[in-house]
């Protein structure tokens, strides 16, 4: 594993408000909002003339919006043309891949500053079309005819994990509760509500409709009730991330120039990327993701750090089970041991290693192509100590990690950040 030939830092990062933004905001609108938000977080300011290239992560604008070729389309919005601009695709890891390519382009010496971003507008099409489009990140020839959906594949992984390690749906409920607690504190999140608040608003709705008031004892009870319908057993509605429109943007700079823009750059000290067979069935292993373990291995080796050194992480919780498996794939916990740690509160905001302080994909939202970049935005904020409302962790974050998984685990990008 080689080192980066020169150091790379984040000098600014931002995002647009995630949510069901279409048609009020389409891809170009959201992308510019994210750009402006990121520019505003570059301490000494930055202008398009300072930037050498524009890398855009996007999964499927072709199917969602009937639009391809987003690289130059976005670059032109802020006057970056005629500089190099390109779109990168790796399913839900699309902007993670763009981010890594930005790092490599700078480390190579070719570029000094790269704007990496991600954008996705998913709500322009019907739910069935969203399901079908997301399913194209799995194998269209051999999984689709069997009825594989995106939730269905993670649900199948959950069934195997439950069987092998005794994991239960209660373990998954705790992940949803935690991530909603965090998302409540994120003004950029799609669902800024704790599960208690969601339950209260449901009860209000039931009352106004004159229906029987449910007597849920607590969040766990609600999450096991018929008000949380089964999408793909054992995963219910609140185990799934959201269908979201959004964009995020990060400015990466070489060591040589970073100090011009800020006195406190966030250094990228580890970057790894892994791959696996597109089909879940073709990997021999269903309870973990080899692409994630490989990406983590590379990132740890490059940074010289190990799982124990990581203080906070944003992990790819497209489904609650995915967060649990990520904690094991990243080596934070032994295989089959993450559930117990979650139960003990270790991954909460006040736990020993907070996970998904942003609210995660579950509550912040999951505009698939923008998700990897948005993870870097949250990490930047937590390391700078500027996370909004009440979600800033109570200790100084010097070492952090992001884990961005594509499809049902066929692409993964892991990044390690240090102050």
């Amino acid at each position: 594993m080689g080192k980066l030939a020169r150091k790379v830092a984040i000098i600014g990062a931002g995002m647009c408000k995630f949510g069901r933004n279409f048609p009020l905001k389409r891809n170009p609108d959201m992308w510019v909002d994210a750009w402006i938000d990121a520019v505003n977080r570059v301490d000494n300011g930055i202008e398009p003339k300072d930037i050498d290239a524009c890398y855009v992560g996007n999964y499927s604008s072709d199917l969602f919006n009937h639009q391809g070729h987003l690289g130059p389309q976005m670059a032109n919005l802020v006057g970056l043309t005629p500089k190099p601009a390109a779109r990168f695709e790796g399913a839900c890891a699309s902007s993670g891949v763009a981010f890594r390519q930005g790092i490599l382009a700078i480390a190579s010496g070719v570029h000094d500053i790269v704007a990496i971003s991600g954008v996705e507008c998913m709500t322009e099409v019907s739910t069935t079309l969203v399901t079908d489009t997301l399913a194209t990140a799995s194998d269209n020839l051999f999984e689709y005819p069997a009825g594989a959906t995106f939730p269905g594949l993670y649900a199948a992984a959950a069934s195997a994990h439950f069987h092998k390690y005794g994991t239960t749906h209660d373990d998954l409920k705790r992940i949803a509760i935690k991530n909603h607690e965090n998302g409540k504190e994120n003004p950029y999140a799609q669902m800024q509500q704790s599960l208690k608040e969601i339950m209260a608003s449901k009860i209000k709705k039931f009352e106004s409709q004159g229906r029987d008031i449910p007597d849920w004892k607590d969040e766990m009870d609600f999450l096991g009730s018929s008000s949380n319908p089964m999408i793909a057993s054992p995963l219910r509605l609140f185990d799934c991330s959201l269908v979201t429109d959004g964009a995020a943007c990060v400015f990466l700079a070489a060591e040589d120039v970073a100090k011009k823009y800020t006195d406190t750059p966030i250094w990228i000290t580890g970057s790894g990327q892994g791959s696996a067979a597109l089909s879940l069935h073709d990997r021999g292993e269903i309870t973990g993701f080899i692409a994630a373990r490989e990406a983590a291995r590379q990132a740890y080796e490059m940074s010289g750090l190990g799982p124990k050194d990581i203080q906070i992480a944003e992990v790819h919780d497209c489904f609650t089970i995915a967060e649990l498996i990520a904690l094991e794939d990243l080596g934070f916990y032994e295989k089959g041991k993450a559930a117990e740690a979650i139960k003990n509160g270790e991954t909460k905001r006040d736990g020993i290693r907070p996970i998904n302080t942003s609210g995660g994909l579950k509550s912040k939202g999951h505009p698939v192509g923008a998700t990897g970049a948005a993870m870097a935005v949250e990490t930047f904020k937590q390391m700078r100590g500027i996370a909004e409302r009440n979600r800033q962790v109570k200790f100084d974050v010097e070492k952090a990690l992001t884990h961005n998984l594509g499809g049902s685990g066929a692409t993964c990008v892991v990044t390690i950040y240090e102050k």
């Binding site: 939730p151 195997a160 057993s233 021999g284």
Partner: protein
């Protein structure tokens, strides 16, 4: 009898259409693959042959899906009538995806991993009357 057909996706799908589950066997290291491979990723050999699979295996993973793909929705599946997506480990070693039938999809807790299954071929009538055949499995 060894088959002379080239190992391609279309030939594999044609076999399924003719209700045969075929895979490849590496003549060098003996590895089975379903769907078949033209190049063995265990030993890098291209000396591969078609073999018919026993069609027997066990459930490795599954999910009863209420929000389905358009293909399944068009077949009449819904939240009220889920279908079961499964990953099956074949006796020959490879895993493959297929719809699991012959189970109560509304009671996923009753479906057990490692349950022995056998292949079945599921027919769907497409618009225009053409019959499409897909891989399915059912408990033995």
């Amino acid at each position: 009898m060894p088959e002379e057909k080239e190992i391609t996706v279309q030939n594999y799908l044609d076999y399924i259409n003719n209700k045969k589950l075929m895979g490849s066997k590496c003549k060098k290291c003996g590895t089975f693959d379903v769907p078949p491979r033209k190049l063995c990723i265990k030993c890098n050999s291209t000396d591969m042959e078609w073999v018919e699979m026993s069609g027997k295996g066990k459930i490795a993973a599954f999910s009863c899906i209420g929000v389905g793909t358009s293909f399944m929705v068009n077949k009449g599946y819904s939240m009220k009538k889920p279908y079961c997506f499964s990953v099956i480990e074949l006796n020959e070693g490879p895993m493959i995806s297929g719809q699991l039938v012959g189970v109560d999809e509304t009671k996923p807790d009753d479906i057990k991993i490692n349950t022995p299954v056998q292949v079945t071929f599921l027919e769907t009538e497409l618009q225009g009357g053409e019959i499409r055949v897909d891989l399915g499995f059912e408990p033995v």
